[in-house]
């Protein structure tokens, strides 16, 4: 499959009378996008706010971040199974607005065991901004409010759809424009993929996209619109992941749809394809919460990598934490037992900087792990002038725009599990 992302570099976003892109500036007709999103009867209203890099601004209760994308020459085929009919994506041309992000605000979001009402945050300046890739994008914040009588479950689905619709609406403004750059992702099918690369090591990616130990959200669209509660490990083309087949689950800690659309590991594998390695494919899995299910899923995934993709090595990533860690480690162990070398991208979960018990598993052959920085490490965030989101108060009574300490985990994009993090957890 060959995917070409027509990238338009956007350097500013402003409200205006007409939604358009002129000289690298994205203009948004605020009323038009609001009316579009308010068509969903599960929502009483949708507010739109803009936040720019460098602003003294804090966005609260971030539920997901999405890059504006619209497929070119194929109407109504964006986010298939969710917004559009079921078709295969990942081939052809898609317009991408680079430097802009849709940020979905969830009025009910809470984070962590203490149900912190601030939820995930993005600071647009200061130390928090240095830690998040979403402080560097011009953010179009979508704030949906639930209509009367709408269940929390349905609200969560509605806000996801609102964010995706906004992403498509904005990108459509760029469909006919000449791109600033074109990113090409071209990977043939298995029989041809290693042509003229037979001497290179074959590397596959096992992508645990969802964790089933957390409450199910009925109707939550994840893979081509399916909610993935039960998934037998299967193969997908990496382009499908880049082009809207996969949407970040509600509980996807350490992941956003934006990170999936710009998947750091898939991009890096593509960059090195034909040079240091042969990228043979992607296995997609969900983490299971019973022992027999986990063993079955791990065994099937490992064998797909070994006997179908013919991988010499695999890299594994996970979604959320806890049981998913054991799941991904077990899959790695089974790969190693089949002779496929495995590396995990893993969160070290120590709370106090102690390196001794940062992971909960100890499989004999799982000995190669890359870190992302410590998700539970506390960082100090200064006060911000402007707040976007539900204005909650801190335990000490101060507003959420004040200074406070926060675990890295709750800063959107800071310790991404898909490989974008430049933080390393170093043992001393």
């Amino acid at each position: 499959m060959k995917l070409e992302l027509n990238v338009l570099n956007i350097k500013d976003v402003q409200f205006s009378e007409k939604t358009d892109i002129i000289n690298g500036v994205l203009y948004i007709n605020r009323r038009e996008i609001q009316e579009l999103l308010q068509q969903d009867k599960r929502l009483s209203k949708v507010e739109i706010e803009l936040a720019h890099p460098g602003e003294s601004c804090r966005i609260l209760q971030v539920s997901d971040v999405i890059e504006p994308r619209a497929r070119i020459g194929a109407n109504d085929t964006d986010f298939p199974g969710v917004l559009s009919k079921h078709i295969t994506v990942g081939a052809g041309n898609t317009c991408a607005l680079r430097g802009v992000a849709i940020v979905i605000n969830d009025q009910n979001a809470v984070s962590g065991p203490s149900h912190d009402p601030k939820g995930n945050i993005i600071d647009m300046s200061g130390p928090g901004a240095e830690l998040s890739p979403y402080a560097k994008t011009h953010n179009v914040v979508v704030l949906p409010y639930a209509a009367d009588g709408v269940s929390p479950n349905d609200y969560k689905v509605a806000i996801k759809l609102a964010g995706l619709k906004a992403a498509v609406y904005l990108a459509k403004a760029g469909k006919d424009l000449k791109p600033d750059e074109v990113e090409v992702y071209d990977l043939p099918s298995l029989p041809k993929v290693s042509n003229s690369m037979e001497h290179l090591p074959k590397v596959a990616y096992i992508f645990q996209a969802y964790c089933t130990s957390f409450p199910a959200i009925q109707g939550e669209p994840i893979l081509y619109g399916d909610s993935l509660r039960r998934l037998v490990p299967t193969l997908v083309h990496p382009n499908e992941i880049l082009d809207g087949a996969l949407v970040n689950p509600y509980q996807g800690m350490g992941m956003e749809t934006y990170a999936i659309q710009n998947h750091p590991l898939i991009k890096a594998l593509y960059q090195k394809h034909g040079k240091e390695l042969c990228f043979v494919g992607v296995v997609i899995t969900v983490s299971q919460y019973t022992e027999p299910e986990r063993e079955r899923s791990a065994a099937i995934a490992a064998n797909l990598a070994k006997s179908i993709l013919g991988a010499d090595g695999v890299i594994l990533t996970k979604s959320s934490s806890g049981a998913p860690d054991v799941d991904v480690a077990q899959t790695a162990q089974m790969c190693e037992e089949l002779g496929v070398r495995a590396v995990l991208i893993m969160w070290g979960m120590s709370q106090d900087g102690g390196a001794d018990s940062s992971v909960v598993f100890s499989f004999p052959k799982v000995d190669a792990m890359v870190s992302t920085g410590s998700p539970l490490r506390q960082v100090s965030l200064p006060a911000m002038k402007r707040l976007i989101g539900r204005p909650v108060t801190l335990p000490n009574g101060a507003p959420a725009s004040s200074e406070f300490n926060l675990r890295l985990l709750w800063i959107s994009g800071a310790v991404g599990q898909l490989g974008n993090s430049k933080l390393v957890s170093v043992q001393y």
Partner: protein, 351 residues
């Protein structure tokens, strides 16, 4: 300004101190002026920055049999020397010596506030006991390479004196102290993972950024002999709480234990009990807490005479992202508590 005239005190056991072998291991601490035996290497290594002003020699058995007393005696001897640095050993693979070196280094750090370092072989029991608190340089099993070991120890303590940043364990030659710090890299995690997998495929060496923990083997306890008259307790790390969590159980970290009275209860009632745990979907256990802590079935088995008695107390903690040391502490205190209460066996349910 780099301080000079640093006063170094060296600790040696009876053997390295030249007093004799095992037959002299009972000797108490003795103070000697200047360096003794291998202390010459140390003295040469600190030239230009300081000198070995005194050496303490102590028998390994003396130290092992009355540790705190020995530490205090040694501190009393050492304090008038006005030491700026303590170097202990190196102890190589000698276990009692290693423990003495570790304990003494820790004591001078904590009580005298001066930097210290020692050296041991990786299997020396002193390593696991002290590496988190004391810089222990890695040595071979046998007594060799003294100059290199001493210079590594000296380099470490001088950095501590000069308040310079200590490098990574592999660079500076010490056992990892169990601390994890976040640093920036030029490569993102994806690129580092690709580099690591390519190294692994090639069979080239690589360094994992995270290590799996190593756990000790515990000898299995003898079985409960007479089940029909035994008292069996239920415990859990799944975050069982009384409704409203009045005992304020922390939903993660296994920070402490809580006990709930289940005397006379036929089952756990969802109106009285709930689940407070941040690591999984607690909805099903909150609907029916017996799905986590099976009081109902245990009560049936008690009534049927299969077990003698269900213990009156159920103990709970919430084990999310718990540090090994917390988990150990909670486990040990649970075991002590239940033993004192006359319990013969425990069923621990875990998510």
């Amino acid at each position: 300004m780099v301080s000079q005239g640093l006063r170094v005190v060296h600790y040696l056991n009876q053997f390295f101190g030249g007093l004799g072998g095992e037959e002299k291991a009972h000797i108490g601490p003795q103070l000697r002026e200047g360096f003794v035996g291998p202390g010459k290497v140390l003295h040469d290594a600190v030239k230009g920055r300081g000198e070995v002003v005194a050496t303490i020699i102590c028998g390994d058995n003396y130290f092992a049999e009355r540790t705190e007393e020995a530490v205090q005696q040694i501190l009393q001897m050492v304090t008038p020397c006005r030491p700026d640095i303590l170097i202990a050993g190196p102890a190589f693979n000698a276990g009692r010596y290693g423990i003495a070196c570790g304990e003494l280094c820790k004591a001078v750090q904590d009580r005298l506030g001066i930097p210290a370092a020692t050296g041991m072989y990786e299997e020396n029991p002193g390593v696991d006991l002290y590496r988190r608190e004391v810089y222990i340089v890695k040595t071979a099993e046998s007594v060799r390479g003294m100059p290199d070991i001493i210079s590594q120890m000296v380099a470490l303590v001088l950095k501590l004196v000069d308040k310079k940043k200590i490098g990574r364990p592999a660079e500076e030659g010490y056992f990892p102290r169990g601390i994890a710090r976040d640093e920036s890299s030029d490569m993102n995690a994806a690129e580092r993972a690709i580099a690591m997998v390519l190294a692994k495929i090639k069979g080239a060496p690589f360094e994992s950024e995270i290590e799996s923990p190593k756990f000790d083997k515990v000898k299995p306890a003898p079985p409960v002999k007479d089940m029909a008259s035994a008292t069996i307790a239920l415990a859990t790390d799944g975050g069982l709480v009384r409704r409203g969590n009045p005992e304020k159980l922390d939903p993660r970290g296994a920070t402490w234990l809580r006990s709930y009275n289940v005397k006379g209860l036929k089952a756990l009632n969802p109106e009285d009990f709930a689940c407070h745990h941040s690591g999984f979907d607690t909805v099903f256990v909150s609907q029916d807490p017996n799905r986590l802590v099976p009081v109902d079935v245990m009560r049936d088995l008690e009534n049927e005479g299969v077990i003698g008695k269900l213990h009156d107390k159920v103990c709970a903690t919430a084990g999310v992202a718990a540090s090994l040391s917390n988990a150990k502490k909670v486990g040990e205190s649970l075991a002590e508590q239940l033993k004192a209460e006359g319990v013969d066996g425990v069923i621990l349910t875990s998510t």
